[in-house]
């Protein structure tokens, strides 16, 4: 059974007051996420990530297509018991304390009073909210609210958790804590589906990603697979390279960057491989420091793909 499955999922919003016309926010999204995966849902602002998450939470109804979570249609109350959701920039009730809010949500899940107290206390510890737990939420900073949001999303030990921009509003320490939390959820066997426009987060956490732009899925798969077809050359770093050697072989290099005295970073084209040049340079007295394939970074890939999209 798949954790998440969408088939040709589309959503139109009417735009315009006098004669509204449909604006396609999501276009025939077909996606499969296996159980236990940490799945990154990437795209720039306005790509349709939040719309997808809202469709999966049935906060929006699809124009066409269908979506299932754990083999059941989205919106099924039984399924909601097994999932968690962190909305983008979460906001809660001003007049409740963090403790009261989580206790309220726990009561909606169906936990008894003793279990509620135990869970709420443990969760607030886990997300790093200490004595502030007895403050009303209106006194919380954005980062603190984000932590409360994460706590409420994992309140019921979910099998699948949906996180919409979970790092948003967090300081570097908070980001690291959330990363660790996502890794610990993964280790517990929880499927994590998170959206982000911060690609480093996806690179650090995800087994697979899907990239969305202008409402359309433009790539999906393992990050390494996406990188693989985008290797674009080699970066060779050498020391003790003489000026004459450099001039002699300059035509075989795409770009030369001086790093230190007689130490250079040489950018080489993909073809022919670096072997011949490396052999020649070493033969002329240079020392090899490092040799790496230069890949299209996820960020470059992202920008390039988004640029190719036709406007909606």
């Amino acid at each position: 059974m798949l954790a998440i499955q969408t088939t040709d999922l589309s959503k139109d919003f009417p735009v315009g007051f006098w004669r509204p016309r449909p604006y396609r926010a999501l276009d025939k999204l077909t996606l499969e996420v296996e159980q236990g995966e940490t799945f990154g849902f990437l795209g720039p602002n306005g790509a349709g990530k939040t719309t997808t998450l809202k469709l999966l939470m049935q906060l929006l109804y699809p124009t066409s297509g269908r979506a299932e979570i754990l083999g059941r249609p989205v919106g099924d109350v039984g399924v909601k018991r097994r999932i968690g959701y962190l909305p983008e920039s979460p906001y809660f009730y001003d007049y409740l304390t963090a403790e009261e809010l989580l206790s309220y949500f726990a009561s909606l899940v169906g936990y008894g009073a003793a279990e509620r107290r135990r869970r709420v206390s443990a969760l607030l510890d886990e997300v790093g909210i200490g004595s502030e737990r007895r403050l009303q939420l209106r006194k919380f900073s954005k980062g603190m609210l984000q932590r409360v949001g994460i706590a409420q999303a994992i309140l019921n030990d979910p099998e699948v958790v949906f996180l919409d921009e979970p790092m948003s509003g967090l300081d570097p320490l908070g980001r690291r804590e959330v990363r660790n939390l996502i890794l610990s959820l993964r280790d517990r066997g929880c499927t994590v589906f998170f959206s982000s426009h911060v690609l480093a987060d996806a690179e650090a956490l995800c087994s697979r990603v899907a990239i969305l732009a202008s409402g359309r899925l433009i790539a999906s798969g393992k990050i390494t697979d996406i990188h693989a077809f985008q290797v674009r050359g080699w970066e060779l770093i050498v020391a003790h390279l003489s000026g004459e050697s450099l001039e002699r072989h300059r035509a075989r290099m795409r770009k030369v960057t001086a790093i230190a005295d007689r130490q250079y970073a040489l950018e080489l084209p993909l073809e022919p491989g670096p072997d011949g040049l490396l052999r020649d340079l070493i033969g002329e007295g240079a020392h090899l420091v490092s040799l790496n394939p230069t890949r299209e970074s996820l960020e470059d890939f992202f920008i390039q793909q988004v640029g190719q999209q036709e406007p909606r």
Binding site: M57, L59, P87, Y91, Y95, Y104, S107, L108
Partner: protein, 268 residues
Amino acid sequence: MRVIRHIAVNVFKESVRDKVLYNLVLFAILLMAASYLLSQLTAGQDIKIIKDLGLAAMQLFGLFMAVFIGIGLVSKEVERRSIYSLLSKPIRRQEFVIGKYVGLVLTLAVNLAIMTVAYYAVLGYMAWMAGSWFKPGWEAPAMDPALLKAVAMIMLQLMVITAVALFFSTFSSPMLSAGLTFGFYIVGHFNADLKHFEAIIDSRPVVYLARALYYLLPNLAPLDVKAQVVHALPVPAAYLLLNTAYAFVYIAALLTASSFIFLRRDFK
């Protein structure tokens, strides 16, 4: 039922932590107390004035509470996006709507109870202060239990108005909801005129339209028995029961419509 109860308790908690609510209750109680001073200007009619003004204060401030809290019940959750996390929990949208309604009714009931206690306290003070030569002229005792019939009917009116406010707040903005709810309240008190429109206008379509509006709009005038109880006129139990049944049917219809609208709503 469990979910509805928890949502209702949360609405109650939200309301009692709202300073606006305290101000409204305080104003109502002050108005009741002030009615004592006003009554001093009208020899012989003082107790009636206190009874009248007290019930009117309860109705007016109860109406403000019902409308101003009612219109925000759903729209505030949507505007502030707190509804996103809430609806991801194992609840149905209908339970959310009904829970919100029950929570506000609970809040109104508690506040009306506080105002009723204050009302009887003012009346008790009046009875204690009045000379024995005044009392025989009174149509009913100062602390007449029949006044509770009017209080109960005010509660019913507020329950209807809360359902109206909630209905509008499921699809329109708070300001528009407030305007429409106040409009319904006013029209609801003059609704009976629509039933006999043929007496003033000789146009079949208009008469049919008026008749349709009569059935569609809340009929609040029969729920207003303030004048009867203040003047010690009988209010039969059958009359109260019939109008209570009407109010409950009207509320059920509104909550069903609210749930239906809310069920299909997109949260962008």
